[in-house]
Symmetry: C2
Subunit: 154 residues, 2 copies
Amino acid sequence: MQAGDVTKYEYFITKGCLKVYTLDEDGAPHISMFAIEDYWTGDMASFITKEPTRYFIKATEDSELLGISRANYELLFQEIPKFERFYRNLYQRSLISYIRRSNQGLSLTAEERYIEYKKKYPNIVNRITQKDLAGYIGITPEFMSKIITKVNRR
Amino acid sequence: MQAGDVTKYEYFITKGCLKVYTLDEDGAPHISMFAIEDYWTGDMASFITKEPTRYFIKATEDSELLGISRANYELLFQEIPKFERFYRNLYQRSLISYIRRSNQGLSLTAEERYIEYKKKYPNIVNRITQKDLAGYIGITPEFMSKIITKVNRR
DNA sequence: GAAAAAAAATGAACTAGTTTAAGACTTTTA
DNA sequence: TAAAAGTCTTAAACTAGTTCATTTTTTTTC
């Protein structure tokens, strides 16, 4: 996926790892999420509103995804209303985790955010570069390096 | 609502304004959201999982709310399955705005966050104190004061 | 398996945001 | 309507995080 596209699919990952990110005016990447097996990814805002996305998606490993088109997504609910419930619960859980992420981003220091993320998602931390983790935590790779050195020294 | 409680209701606001916040170990408030007329508020995580909340909710104006209990929330979907769709859409929209908030919190400077928030929610900014806005933007009231002075000087 | 490319580490100089403290202004309460 | 409490402003000293430049280490490619 490329910024400027109108998102045509939401993706379910069956294998691999992807990063979803924006580039700021200086070209620096800001990573919104890492998606691994059993995660959904895409840009929901663009998928729903049909406005062009500001996100890029890139695989960080060889990956396999299943995509659902907007037409099929809408059809799904028409044909099998039980899926409303499935997606209600999916969105509810995602919402809870994004509320936490937005609060932590604004109230914790970078070091605290790193420690929390590593505790919560050790399996993801082990699969990505330190540089990408910095882009997710919201700091520079240099500062990420310093934090890791400091935390490991303990 | 008080940290430590298990949330019994999700609230719909018919009148007024409330702030949802946590207190950190130093007792400093971090505001998660302001909720005004037609917003839903509460702590969804606690409402769903029945674990005690870490949030406080306080009205910043005389307010009127409607609360739905967990039992009635579940009953609603059983009795009127169309509400699954309503809540799916509600959560989807909330999710889109929390994804944006979490990304902005990690990629924009405090000044940029202030300008964005004021542009997007001018009606809320006018109803709350500068101190509470600082708690929402993720900075100290002192720095909020400097930013406002600086932005207005232009 | 050598060369090239990318990632990670280190350090010095810098900037965004915090802390502490004090005074001015505004709102609430008795 | 005076006093008290809370909010806002300002400023100086500080700290978390950035920037830029260089070196080392790891990964990729041919």
